[in-house]
Point group: C2
């Protein structure tokens, strides 16, 4: 593409070909996890000038020496704040504007990351999990990060309805009720158990591990994902969650 062969070079660009073809870039990662049935967002915490805590998304620049792609850059950002396996990572959208950064035209590549559910919400230094309720983080985030979270969450809410994304928010072994819990956490509404069972027990998408989760009730069968973790797609949405 473009490179030195780009069309529409203005006089200034020809004189100084590097200057106007660049912009400030950052890669921002919106990371979700479901902990005890609650949707949580990974943020880093720092000290604002007024002493109040400041919450923001893991974000950073591209490092030419390390990043072979934008996905690499996103993964590297996330890895600074969580060592957990990243079960799903996808680019959501790139936003650009002259106003986001005081230094000039800037551009953000927004990523959606999903981590497996774990009981402990252990984090690195200056990192926190904050609740997300009604589609909004409980603590307001700095800059335009609330907007970025909204974009990533919209993607998740939509895609969870026709794909295997729910299982990426669950641990390796899970019950069918766990899937329902994920829907509730993300959509604040859930498809009927009958529909979830019909959908997820079709074909060989899941494997019955033979294990069971026991409580003070009938034990539930524990399943794991088949098909080497490939995301699979269905051809209908759930209507009850619209």
């Amino acid at each position: 593409m473009t490179g030195r062969h780009s069309n529409a070079e203005t006089k200034a660009e020809v004189e100084n070909p590097m200057s106007l073809s660049t912009a400030l870039i950052s890669v921002d990662v919106v990371t979700f996890q479901v902990i005890n049935g609650q949707l949580m967002l990974l943020v880093k915490e720092s000290q604002g000038t007024d002493g109040k805590p400041l919450y923001m998304l893991p974000a950073g620049r591209i490092e030419p020496r390390h990043d072979q792609s934008l996905d690499d850059a996103a993964e590297r950002q996330l890895r600074m704040y969580s060592q957990q396996t990243i079960s799903h990572l996808e680019q959501v959208e790139t936003l650009g504007s002259p106003d986001r950064d005081s230094r000039g035209w800037s551009l953000t590549v927004v990523y959606l990351a999903l981590l497996s559910s774990i009981k402990t919400s252990g984090t690195c230094q200056n990192t926190r999990w904050i609740k997300v309720t009604d589609g909004t983080p409980d603590m307001p985030l700095a800059y335009d990060h609330n907007k970025l979270v909204r974009k990533a969450l919209d993607r998740l809410k939509n895609k969870i309805q026709y794909s295997s994304l729910p299982v990426y928010l669950l641990p390796e072994e899970f019950t069918l009720s766990d899937i329902q819990t994920v829907f509730a956490a993300v959509l604040e509404k859930t498809p009927p158990m009958r529909s979830i069972r019909n959908r997820f027990l079709k074909e060989d998408l899941l494997i019955d591990t033979g294990h069971q989760r026991r409580g003070s009730n009938r034990p539930a069968a524990l399943y794991k994902v088949n098909k080497n973790s490939q995301t699979w797609l269905f051809d209908r949405l759930y209507l009850s969650t619209q």
Copy 2:
């Protein structure tokens, strides 16, 4: 985002904060039109060093003075090569890599644009419509533009199956058979007429203009879009086109 508050600043970045947070950027637009039932791609033509013609996508840089957003930049690119109304424009994906441009790490924002079907494929200087068959442009494109076309076309092929995108590839007034023609052009496969009718004549998505297209057969009713051109979504895919 990032701004001056970005984490993970290396020593070099602190010393020269502008340098490593920027990269070469271009916005590339993949524009489709259906002309006489044939899917066509808009390219610009130039002379290669060996005298052979070189085809590439409309692409260019962000102009801080003119562009308030990436969408603006994409629209501006496309406007240089076609004055037709842009009936649909959406961002597909941003690709980045150290190899695409010899000057260093570069980044492309890929857009998908749809233009209304018209008989004449009139174009501006150095601009051509080339056929797309089997998902590939008839002429190979320069750089990695074939890959970008593939990405945009994949998006179109998918989205056409559950949205009103087909009508954006048609003129203001069209018949239901025209919709079928668009499916054939894009997917090289088509849902049954019964299904198309059931879907598009539901609710008040289309308005019967009362006009008819006449030929050597029964005339077909001409429809136009209702609902102020908002893209609408269905909750199922066509299975016959999978």
